[in-house]
Structure formats: C-alpha cells, structure tokens
C-alpha cells in the first residue's frame, strides 16, 4: 500500500518535470542558430522554395504555437522527421536506442561484476595491495577520457594484435542482423539461436563494453569500498561481531546495508551514460542514439534531438522507478 502511494506521489512529481524538460529543451534548441530550411535546400535555393519548406515545417508560426503543435504530436507518438535522414524520428530512434541501451547495460553489468567484489575485498583487507589498488583505480578510472581509452584499445587489440573486430558498428558487413524482437542484437541473436551472428555481435561489443566498463567500474569500486568501510565500523556490525557471528554473515549484513548506496551510484551512471556514451559510440561507429542526437545538434536538426531528450527522460524515469522499487525491497524503513 505504502508502495503504491509512494509511486503515485512520485509520478505526480515527475509529470510536470517531464513537461519542463520538453519545454526547456524545445525553446533552447530553437535558439540554435541556423535555418533548417536553408540547411536542407542548400545555399542556392530560391526564396520561395525556402518559404514553402518553412511553412511545411511549421517554422513560420510563432514559437509558442510551434511548441503546442509539437506537444500534441509527441502525445500522439509522433516525434517529427529528421531532415538529415528524411525519416520519422520515432523510426530512427527505435533502431538506435536499443543499440545504446545494449552497450550501456552490458558495460554497467561488467563494471558491477568487476567493481563490487574489488570494492568489498578492498574494504575487508585494509592493508592489502588490493586496497591501495582500488583506492587509486577509483580516482584514475574517473580521470581517463573514455573516447581516448577506446582509441587505445582499438590500436592495441585491433591494429596491432588483430584480436578484436573492426571498430565499425555492431556487426561485420557480411552478416545480417537477427530478426528484431528487442532491438538488441545481443538478445535477438540469442533468441534466434544464431550462433554465428551472436559471436560476431559479442566480438563487436567487447571493446566498447571494456572501455565503458573499466571506466565506470571506478565510481562503483569507490562507492562500494567507502560504504563498506563505513558499515564495517558501524555500531550494528560491531555489535554483530561481538555476538560472535561468523565473518561470512558479517560481510553479508554489511553488503546488504551498502546496497542502497551502490544502487544509487549505478542509477546515476546509467542515466548519465544514456547520453554520455556518445563519444565511445562515435569511436566505434556504433550508430547509437547519442550519436544521432549529436549530429542533430550540430546541424540544427532539432527533431532528432528533441526525440532523444524525450526518450532518455522517459527511460530515466523508468530507471528511477525501478531503483525506487529496489530500495523498497531492501530497506524496511521506507515501507512505512
């Protein structure tokens, strides 16, 4: 019951926020200099042609009117068309978002699998090398530019060693993508049971996932380590120790208590990476949503950018809702 009320309240806050995001980004992006009609038709186009296009695109109306029209269309699921790809934005994004989500999700999974055990061990073994390593790794990983690390990996593992697949998209040219179910090649090829495609997908995923995973493991290690440190010194863990509970139980209790903080950092990273993975996408020619939005910004093509903003805001919303549900599952104090 408390949960439903909580989610209800949450949604109540979120809808105005969503509106705010759409409004701010709409007016902001309209401020980008450059006339789409001009850009579309080229500098040699006649004034009449430009005017015609402008009225087709609704650019001759006032900003407010344009915004209302845009809102109406968004609510009916139409995000407009991109003049660069000349396709509906919705269609483009439906192809590109799964690519980004697949990359980000797998990277964070990798970062978690690496980060949590290292963080716990570093906290348990205070004087060990792993403690020193993880302390500085956390700082170093956050300092490296991910796009640069991607380049170095390409050089080492593709150019020199030839182990990795070419950094050109999600599949080799000769291989057909699997039938679309989720949009993620990783999942879809598994569903289709197509091992050749699956292997190729994994080969292409390896380097970008390694890049993003290694960098984002930094904050995860740091958070795990510092909350575990705090908890192992906390009153209730000390008390559990003086009740003679075994070390395994102690670590389990401390970890359980540190889960909310780890969850928080993961959700922050996730929402950041939906847009923030764009540079790695560029390096690996991933063709993800971030790349799509970026070229939109740089070419005054605002529908793709708006579409991207709306999509990622909704995705973040769903993400935070899931995180809240997990908090509820972990911490009984929230249930009242």
């Amino acid at each position: 019951m408390a949960l439903i009320r909580y989610i209800g309240r949450r949604l109540l806050f979120v809808l105005p926020q969503l509106f705010g995001i759409v409004a701010v980004s709409f007016f902001l992006l309209k401020m980008i200099p450059g006339d789409p009609a001009l850009l579309m038709l080229g500098p040699l186009a006649s004034q009449e042609a430009i005017n015609e296009i402008r009225s087709v695109m609704g650019l001759d109306k006032s900003l407010i009117e344009q915004f209302v029209i845009y809102l109406e269309r968004v609510l009916s699921g139409d995000l407009g068309t991109s003049w660069q790809t000349t396709k509906p934005v919705m269609e483009d994004l439906l192809k590109r978002f799964p690519a980004t989500m697949e990359l980000v999700t797998l990277s964070l999974l990798f970062a978690l699998i690496l980060g949590i055990p290292v963080g716990i061990l570093a906290s348990l073994l205070k004087k060990s090398i792993i403690n020193k390593f993880s302390t500085y790794y956390g700082l170093l990983a956050g300092s490296l530019p991910d796009f640069w690390l991607g380049l170095i990996f390409i050089f080492v593992f593709y150019t020199i060693l030839g182990w990795a697949a070419a950094p050109m998209g999600r599949l080799d040219l000769g291989i057909l993508p699997p039938a679309v179910v989720s949009g993620s090649y990783f999942i879809d090829s598994l569903i289709a049971g197509d091992w050749e495609t699956f292997n190729n997908v994994v080969a292409h995923l390896t380097l970008p996932v390694l890049t993003l995973g290694l960098i984002n493991a930094g904050p995860i290690i740091k958070m795990t380590q510092s909350t575990m440190d705090r908890l192992l010194e906390s009153d209730h863990i000390r008390y559990a120790r003086s009740c003679g509970l075994g070390e395994f139980q102690i670590v389990r209790r401390a970890f359980r208590n540190s889960l909310p903080s780890v969850l928080t950092i993961v959700s922050v990273l996730y929402s950041f990476l939906i847009g923030g993975a764009v540079l790695v996408e560029i390096v690996f020619s991933w063709g993800g949503a971030g790349q799509y939005a970026l070229s939109g910004v740089l070419n005054a093509d605002i529908n793709p950018v708006m579409g991207f903003v709306v999509w990622s805001a909704v995705l973040c919303l769903i993400l935070y809702l899931i995180v809240d549900l997990l908090y509820f599952a972990i911490d009984p104090r929230l249930r009242d």
Partner: protein
Amino acid sequence: MKVLYLYCKDRPLIGFGYFFVFFLIFLAVFADLIAPWPPQTANPDDYLQAPSWRHLFGTDETGMDIFSRCIYSIRLDLSIAFLGTAVSAIVGTAIGAFVGYYEARGRLKTVFSSFTMRALDVIQSFPVFVFAIALVAIFGQGLYSIIAAIAFVNMPIYVRLMRTQALSIRQMRYVEAAYLSGLSDVSLIIKHIVPNSMGPILSHLSVNVGWSVLLAAALSFAGAGVEAPTPEWGSMIAVGFKNIVTGQWWPSTFPGIVLGLTVFSFALIGASVEVLADPVRRRAAIAKY
C-alpha cells in the same frame, strides 16, 4: 602547508598530484620558452613523423609538433576549466546557501527554494553531454561559450552540495544563537553558514576542475568545442583518430596521456582536500607525526 607536507610524505601519489599541477602551470606560463616548435605551423615535409628526438611526441598529419601543441594546450584547457569551475562554484554556492537557508522558512522563501530545486531537477534530467553541446551550439563555437556551458552544467552540483550543508548547519545551535542575537539572514549566511560548509565544497572544487578539463576536451572531440588548428587536447585526439587504425598511434595517444594525468592529478588533490578539510580525519591522517 606543513600538514600538507606530512600528509603527502606517506602518500607519494598524492604528492605527485600536487607536483604535476604545479608543473603544468609552470609549463603553461613558460610555454613560449619551452615548446621547441610553433604550435600552429603546419610543416608538410614532416607529416606523421613517429616520436624522435627531433619531435618528442611525433607530428600529426599536417606536420605540426605534438609535444609543442600539448604544452600550448595547457593554457587553453586549464583556463577553461578554472574559469568554468570558478563561475559555477561561486554562483552555485550562493544559490545553494540561500535555497538551503530559506527552505521551509516562511511562504515566499519556501516557494523560492522549491522552485529553484525543481528547476535544477529539470536541468539535471538532461543528458549532460548533449546539453553542453547544445549550449555551445547556441552561443556559437568559441572560448566563452565553452566556459559558459561548463559552468552551467556544473552549477547544479554546487547548489545541491551547499543546500545540504546549509540545511544541516542552519539547525546548529550557534546559528540559532546568532539569529537570536539579531543578525540578519544575509549576515548569518555569510558569517556562519558559508564558512562552515567550505570543506565539501573545496574538495569537490578540485575534482571538478579535473572534470571540466575532461568535458572541455570531450566537447572539442565531438566537434563542438575549440576548432581544429588551435592546440587543444580533445581536438588533437580527434585529429589523430583516423590515423590510429592504420598504426600511427602517437597523434592521439600523447594528448590523451597528458589529459588523463592532468585530470588524475586534480582528482588526487581533491581526495586529499576531502581528508584535510575535515579536522578529525586530518588529525587521524597525520597522527604518526
């Protein structure tokens, strides 16, 4: 100073962080004397030279010396980062102090606080990077729009940080005592609340300078920052990008290493400030001496 020395004595890596930042500043100031080649002069005869004694970090596809360009980049990247961070810290701290202090204190003040916080929520729900690029696109490419974008993107963190501090400090008894003494809201904030929240702000400030360098470089890499011939780490990496697949690793690698070390150094300094700004942890850290 002495505390800092004692702290670094056991932690050589932190000491390195401080050293490297001072070294960078030194290089930036004396770039004209140190850099062996002019940073923006293309030399077609010398294109894509591997690192050698003549060109320490090699040359790029137009034949510009990468070592010299790396040194000149420091000026640009560090000033962008310092200015961007300073603006966001000052503005953010001021807003945060008032927001935190006024939260749930009278109707108008509360409205001001909650409106600011909701506005921040909206700003922060944007994908940060796309947002920064959009800002640069709006103001036109150039130094000041990059600085403005960085300042704007960073500001919400300071507002939140300072708000949390102000919220807890305004509950402290000494603030209540000062309130009862008849001090005005503004002087309460300036005299008691801001000085007592400086610890977390300072430690974030240093880490933030590092991030700002990273963000500036990333903007240039994405094509929304400094334009090509100007020496800048991010755009240098972008220029070297196409060469790497064919095996010329140096045009991208060296600027990346310098960039990474710079950000790392600021992170190290930030980590030490976090400890040193807290009297209890400071005492524990240098307890041996």
